[in-house]
């Protein structure tokens, strides 16, 4: 679900790079030295996980897991996804050098939006809170990046109007698949390693200091 070289117009490509620089500057603020290996390790996990193909009727789709990056890394999801995009360009030539900006904004924006949705779980207390909001985050990550992709196509020219509509429609089945996968994964992580989740509040038995430090994460 990324865009390839040679499609978008120069102003859209430039806007993509400008947006990437701005978002990277915001999301990399106050990043500690010990976060560098962590973010990069998560980047490669998602890179590898995106090679998993899920059968869908006669064809298959590969996982993107944008929502899960947001659920695990919070706002650091943006640099992680940007790294993934750059790595993919260098390793496969896939996507391409000129669209690194647009693709980072599109996919990284999806990750950030998913984190926003994921954080809304603190307002509710359903029985399966993490599974529900994990699923919502999984779906909204894909849909948000689909919307950004459609916008970049439409702003390139009116002849891409129909292409944008088809592309967005193609995101919907992927969003459903990702919702189930990310929901299952979030409820798995909350049982197995809750401190791996972004913005997770520890139970009340934790000390005040521990709660405070987890808030910052």
């Amino acid at each position: 679900m990324h865009i390839s070289d040679g499609i978008l117009s120069a102003p859209v490509l430039a806007a993509g790079f400008a947006g990437t620089v701005a978002l990277a500057a915001i999301t990399l603020r106050k990043m500690d030295m010990d976060e560098v290996p962590k973010v990069s390790v998560i980047t490669s996990v998602f890179f590898v996980a995106s090679l998993i193909h899920v059968p869908l009727g006669p064809s298959s789709v590969h996982l993107l897991l944008l929502g899960l990056v947001g659920v695990v890394l919070g706002i650091r999801a943006f640099p992680a996804i940007m790294l993934g995009v750059i790595l993919q360009t260098i390793l496969f030539g896939h996507g391409g050098v000129t669209v690194i900006g647009v693709n980072s904004v599109m996919l990284g924006g999806g990750g950030l939006f998913a984190y926003f949705v994921w954080q809304q779980r603190h307002r509710f207390s359903f029985k399966k809170n993490e599974a529900i909001f994990g699923a919502l985050a999984g779906a909204s990550g894909i849909l948000a990046s689909g919307i950004i992709l459609s916008i970049s196509l439409v702003t390139t020219g009116e002849h891409f109007f129909a292409t944008a509509a088809y592309t967005f429609a193609a995101h919907i089945p992927v969003a459903i698949i990702e919702a189930i996968v990310v929901g299952a994964c979030a409820s798995f992580l909350v049982k197995v390693k809750p401190d791996a989740l972004a913005g997770q509040r520890m139970p009340l038995v934790a000390t005040h200091a521990a709660v405070a430090s987890n808030e910052i994460k």
Partner: protein, 264 residues
């Protein structure tokens, strides 16, 4: 899918001998100039130049063609979507089984296809001809932030580790009788699979970070790679830049019409 782009970086060629800093700078500018081409003949010319770069780099064709298959597969839908969806203002369209096919759409799809192939081929010549870490340090010399370079190096290294980890876990699942299907159970299992992969890699990254700290890591990577540029490096740079400027000048000169208007 092979991931090691630098598998053939040892091959001797004029692109391989080129100073990586200057190579990435010049070929990078060439790629951006290709991206804004609007006319078909010039796009073909750029494709020819890209093929020439690839030939100079001496990379085996089957290494490149393997990745090209994915890109071509990705671009093929454009040949169907664009002719069907182009808002045809002129009379230049055909009717086939009740569908309207606009010739402008076909031209645009061809342009997109040629440009994308040219850019990907150049990227191969650019990053396939030096070791990955050398390319990254070259990028650092080109003012790419240090932190980004470090993260790219880490991620690249760990991609192979986790591929291996994932392969082992997949074998373990198959042994226990797991089959991929299009159902809820498969998706939930995959969710747990990704979760396990995450937990394992989180813990591994913590161990690795502690090991790095104990070896004196203070937020910087030191490298023994040094670069030296001589006249031939600058001559190659000048040749590529002149080609890029020539391509863009021809494209904007009005000698050829844009792909949305005509074939040539």
């Amino acid at each position: 899918m092979p991931l090691d782009i630098d598998r053939f970086a040892h091959l001797e060629s004029s692109i391989q001998r080129w100073d990586p800093r200057i190579k990435i700078f010049s070929l990078g500018l060439f790629v951006f100039s290709v991206a804004i081409i609007q006319t078909l003949p010039i796009a073909l010319l750029a494709l020819g130049v890209a093929l020439y770069f690839l030939r100079l780099s001496g990379l085996p064709l089957d290494f490149v063609s393997h990745s090209m298959k994915f890109i071509i597969f990705f671009l093929l839908p454009f040949f169907i979507i664009m002719p069907l969806s182009y808002p045809s203002s002129s009379d230049m369209h055909y009717h086939l089984w009740g569908l309207t096919l606009a010739i402008e759409g076909l031209r645009l799809a061809t342009l997109i296809f040629i440009k994308a192939v040219a850019i990907v081929l150049t990227t191969f010549a650019m990053f396939g001809s030096s070791r990955f870490d050398v390319s990254m340090i070259a990028l650092q010399h080109l003012r790419v932030p240090k932190m980004l370079i470090q993260m790219l190096l880490f991620s690249y290294r760990y991609t192979f580790v986790f591929m291996e980890e994932m392969r082992r876990m997949q074998i373990a699942m198959r042994v226990r009788g797991f089959v991929l299907r299009s159902d809820m159970k498969t998706l939930k299992t995959i969710g747990n699979f990704v979760g396990t992969l995450l937990v394992r890699s989180f813990e591994r990254s913590e161990r690795v970070y502690k090991a790095m700290l104990s070896k004196g890591y203070q937020g910087e990577l030191h490298s023994t790679v040094t670069f030296s540029a001589d006249n031939s490096d600058y001559v190659k740079c000048a040749l590529v830049l002149v080609t890029a400027v020539a391509i863009l000048t021809l494209d904007f000169s009005g000698l050829f019409t844009a792909a949305s208007v005509g074939w040539y």
